[in-house]
């Protein structure tokens, strides 16, 4: 019979009815609430009456013993390093285990040894892979000086470099490599550019003839025209339709289309995979303010900071954050007391300011549209004034976009002060507005380009697009994307060198009111992230028209890393407003996904809707670029063809949609059920805590009565051995506590 540590069992093994159980707070509240489902079967079946408590107490005792065994079994199954002990204890545990392992016999030992060797080998190879990661030492330096918030920006940049490299390899292997190796293999290529005499297939060469002045080369390099136009850089150069090998045919047009779709899919899958944990945290956390204080206090300090100045900065930013949060909480309570008149006033102000914001955005978009049409006109008419003005005309859309993206954030941050939101919401709302501005400006640029391409004046376009202006419109779009990328890079470098560096010099060496007002440059993470997401969106849109663009972006981000690192170390101080690593991951990848979604729209529209150029590119034999896929599918054999037809039919689409809706509803229902269970368990824990305290009080009273002499009073309720971590004894019990059994040794299990 098990020795019950708390209750005495008399000889006949029947426990006298303990009125104690009926007095426990949880039982009382049970009776009151009449809930017998979860708690009832464990402790007491209320319907069975008081005699039921005998079996339940025995079962509790047996569960205690089983619990101990389970605990021991748990710690045995785990690798030693997962146990939170000192090295000496871990060694003794290991010796204990090896003694036990010798009982296993040869086969068991051999299995264990091989398992250990495999694990060691896996860890070594992972370690070697990690050491080859790009910029590991630089990022470690940044982390040590500035903390994990800024580190997340740089690791995001590293992610983009690798992503662009993968996209470039994809395009290179499937599109450029087959063309490059044609002379070296036995393949026979069929070209698309047949001079059929129709007006659609005329493609005047743009290479300059005669004496070329040097600065015209520079113009060509910067604008993608001239000698760059008929190179691998742009869509127009890929004139190969199919490559015939002895055994098979390589359909380059189809490969071009499929490579485009696959690079979009690869980006999507990789971003979603990378953000999986971050999304879980941020979407499940529906109680937004719940746990934000615990997170800030318990996980608030970056233990990787090694710089004294950075530590001071971290402290002040933590103080600022805590004060802001506490103030926000107080403001929330005040807001609840607002009168109706105040509310109407505030809503009216917000409405007017939002209208103002929309007006500003509309003005910016219209100016981008005007700049694009003007720039296209100037290029068409080949108006040459002089070198600098020509370049300005070429770059006019980029200049206008950059200026708009510079002015609007300042405007937004001024406006938000009058709208009276909570501080956290202010930041987020300003960011949303800036994101919208940045990404929509690209959309406006493309829209204005397309309105020019598909608009032939009064009548319908003869070739499907405006041949008079654009003999090869894809190349033109590619050139615009190329110009945007180059200009973006020039601006980043120029701002760092020409604006931030003098600012730092002025603020350090010329002490005046002006320099104090201007202050040192802050490394604002959101604005920097928006910059690189903007560049990446352009890359995604432009890769279809300019297959070498990912390579250019890889090199661009490679240099941007070093420029930003230099700027951070020399010119900037980290912002006083802290940026948490976890929420920043969510923000970065969320904005990147918005950029990807935006990039898919122009690519889809141009592939499926707009007629492809008849004068250049691999899709001359088709009406639209998308047609390459159905035509290739028709040439397949019967089995795969019917399968593909089934996949693209409406029946499949509808049933797929229905199934995914059902799956989503199921998962949502499951989440709701889990939440309910969690709440019930929390209430149960609360009750158990009260029970425990009550029992301790009773125990103390019982011991106080039964002892002859006063109990040995100790200043602490526990001896100096391992404190029991799982029971929180309130330390105001004056008498020393003596349990029949000592507290359990292993205080580490969860």
């Amino acid at each position: 019979m098990e020795v019950d540590p708390v209750f005495t069992i008399d000889g006949s093994e029947r426990i006298t009815i303990i009125p104690l159980l009926d007095q426990l707070p949880s039982y009382q509240s049970l009776l009151y609430r009449r809930k017998s489902s979860t708690i009832g079967n464990k402790r007491r079946g209320s319907s069975r009456g008081r005699f039921g408590s005998l079996s339940s107490i025995k079962s509790t005792a047996s569960t205690i013993n089983r619990h101990d065994d389970k605990e021991q079994g748990l710690s045995e199954g785990r690798p030693i390093r997962e146990l939170a002990m000192s090295m000496k204890d871990k060694r003794t545990e290991r010796e204990k285990r090896s003694v036990k392992a010798q009982d296993l016999g040869n086969w068991g030992q051999w299995r264990q040894n091989t398992r250990r060797c495999l694990k060691r080998w896996k860890e070594d190879s992972e370690d070697r892979l990690n050491s080859m990661k790009l910029w590991r030492r630089d990022i470690h330096q940044i982390e040590a000086r500035f903390g994990t918030g800024i580190l997340s920006y740089f690791s995001f940049l590293r992610f983009l470099v690798v992503l662009n490299l993968i996209i470039f390899l994809l395009m290179f292997c499937f599109i450029m490599l087959p063309i490059i190796i044609i002379p070296y293999t036995s393949g026979n290529a069929t070209y698309t550019h047949q001079d059929s005499g129709s007006v659609c297939s005329v493609y005047p060469s743009s290479t300059r003839r005669g004496l070329v002045i040097f600065h015209e080369h520079i113009t060509d390099l910067l604008s993608g025209g001239g000698f760059l136009e008929q190179t691998y850089l742009f869509y127009g150069f890929y004139k190969v339709d199919k490559i015939h090998y002895p055994s098979c045919t390589y359909n380059l047009a189809l490969a071009y289309l499929l490579a485009t779709i696959s690079y979009l899919l690869v980006s999507l899958i990789w971003i979603v995979k990378r953000s999986a944990t971050g999304f879980k945290q941020n979407l499940v956390k529906d109680e937004d303010s719940f746990q934000c204080f615990c997170n800030k206090i318990f996980a608030g300090w970056d233990f990787c900071i090694t710089n004294e100045k950075a530590a001071e900065l971290k402290r002040s930013s933590l103080l600022y954050e805590l004060r802001t949060d506490l103030e926000e909480e107080r403001m929330k309570q005040e807001k609840a007391k607002r009168t109706r008149k105040d509310k109407c006033q505030i809503y009216a102000i917000r409405f007017i300011l939002n209208l103002f914001v929309i007006a500003v955005l509309a003005a910016c978009f219209y100016s981008i549209y005007l700049a694009t049409t003007f720039s296209q006109e100037q290029q068409r008419n080949h108006v040459k004034v002089n070198f600098i003005v020509d370049l300005i005309y070429e770059y006019l859309p980029s200049i206008v976009i950059t200026m708009a993206n510079f002015i609007t954030p300042l405007l937004f941050s001024v406006i938000i002060n009058y709208e009276d939101y909570s501080p956290a919401f202010e930041i987020r709302f300003t960011l949303i507005r800036c994101v919208f501005m940045r990404l929509t400006s690209i959309g406006v640029l493309l829209f204005s380009l397309w309105s020019q391409i598909t608009n032939c004046g009064e009548e319908e376009c003869f070739c499907g697009y405006n041949t008079a202006l654009y003999s090869c419109w894809e190349t033109r779009v590619g050139q615009e994307m190329y110009k945007l990328t180059i200009f973006d890079f020039i601006i980043i470098a120029a701002v760092t060198i020409l604006v931030e560096f003098p600012r730092k010099l002025i603020v350090t060496y010329w002490k005046s009111g002006f320099s104090k007002w201007w202050g040192e440059q802050e490394f604002g993470i959101p604005q920097n992230v928006l910059e690189i997401v903007y560049g990446q969106t352009i890359c995604w849109i432009g890769t279809f028209y300019c297959p070498l663009l990912p390579a250019i972006c890889t090199i661009k981000y490679f240099f941007v890393f070093y420029i930003k690192k230099l700027s951070l170390i020399k010119n900037c101080r980290p912002s006083t407003r802290p940026f948490r690593a976890s929420s920043s991951n969510f923000f970065f990848l969320g904005v990147l996904l918005i950029g990807l979604a935006l990039a898919c729209v122009p690519v889809t529209v141009s592939v499926a809707q707009i007629n492809c150029s008849q004068a250049c590119g691999p899709f001359v034999n088709y009406n639209t670029s998308w047609e390459a896929l159905p035509k290739a599918a028709l040439e397949l054999s019967d089995g795969p063809r019917t399968f593909l037809h089934a996949l693209s039919s409406e029946a499949f689409a509808v049933s797929f949609f229905v199934v995914s809706c059902l799956a989503m509803f199921y998962v949502i229902a499951l989440a709701g059920a889990h939440k309910k269970v969690i709440n019930q368990l929390k209430q149960q824990l609360d009750m158990e805590g009260q029970d425990k305290r009550y029992l301790i009080v009773m125990l103390c009273q019982a011991q106080g009565l039964s002892r002859a002499q006063p109990p040995a009073s100790r200043s602490k309720p526990r001896s100096g051995g391992s404190p029991s971590y799982h029971t929180s004894f309130n330390c105001d019990f004056p008498q020393g506590l003596l349990l029949v059994h000592p507290t359990p040794n292993s205080s580490t299990h969860v």
Binding site: M87, A299, D302, R323, S582, L685, S724, S728
Partner: protein, 189 residues
């Protein structure tokens, strides 16, 4: 048996690899940094202990507001003076390494934050913790009113059995839902 001889032998290295979360490179680097801190006359003594003030000269620990608590928690010396031998040092680095489990990290974090070593985080512990985080001087401390509001909020979020203190299970539960903990509770040499 720690080794402070100038080389670590292969057997010890594989033993440490098994018992900690550190890789071979990290253990060798730790050995190098540890040997630099050992005073010259004791360099050949096996299992020598470095006093706490020497350990705190490491740049990774110098500017950390919890440096003394860290030393005291990981120290296995009988006099509880915070001195570390090489085994303790490796234990410290293992708990703070990238690949340590959340359970280990939260266990040690709890012990570090438990300033009075009573097994729970009471109001007093939480107050000290907040003061360590914000600076400790008079003008960087929160006002008593703000402190009370803050600790009330923390206890409301984490104290499940409503006894006014946070015990290990409650702490681990809160930490498991805290997204920043794993990335911030990290020391890499």
């Amino acid at each position: 048996m720690g080794a402070t001889a100038s080389q670590l032998d292969k057997g010890m290295l594989s033993e440490y690899q098994e018992l900690t979360y550190l890789t071979k490179q990290e253990i060798l680097l730790a050995h190098k940094r540890f040997s630099e801190l050992v005073p010259k006359e004791e360099i050949d003594r096996i299992n020598c202990r470095i006093p706490m003030n020497l350990v705190l000269t490491l740049p990774e620990l110098k500017s950390n507001p919890f440096n003394e608590r860290i030393c005291k928690v990981f120290s296995t010396s009988d006099s509880h003076d915070g001195s570390l031998n090489f085994d303790d040092f490796l234990d410290l680095l293992s708990a703070f390494s990238d690949s340590a489990t959340l359970e280990i990290k939260s266990h040690y974090a709890f012990r570090i934050f438990d300033f009075d070593d009573d097994g729970t985080l009471g109001r007093h512990d939480l107050e000290k913790l907040v003061n360590c985080l914000t600076g400790g001087t008079d003008d960087t401390n929160l006002t008593p009113e703000e402190m009370r509001q803050l600790i009330d909020n923390i206890l409301e979020e984490s104290d499940i059995d409503k006894d006014g203190t946070v015990n290990l299970s409650e702490f681990q539960h809160v930490i498991s839902r805290s997204p920043d903990f794993v990335s911030s509770f990290k020391i890499v040499l």
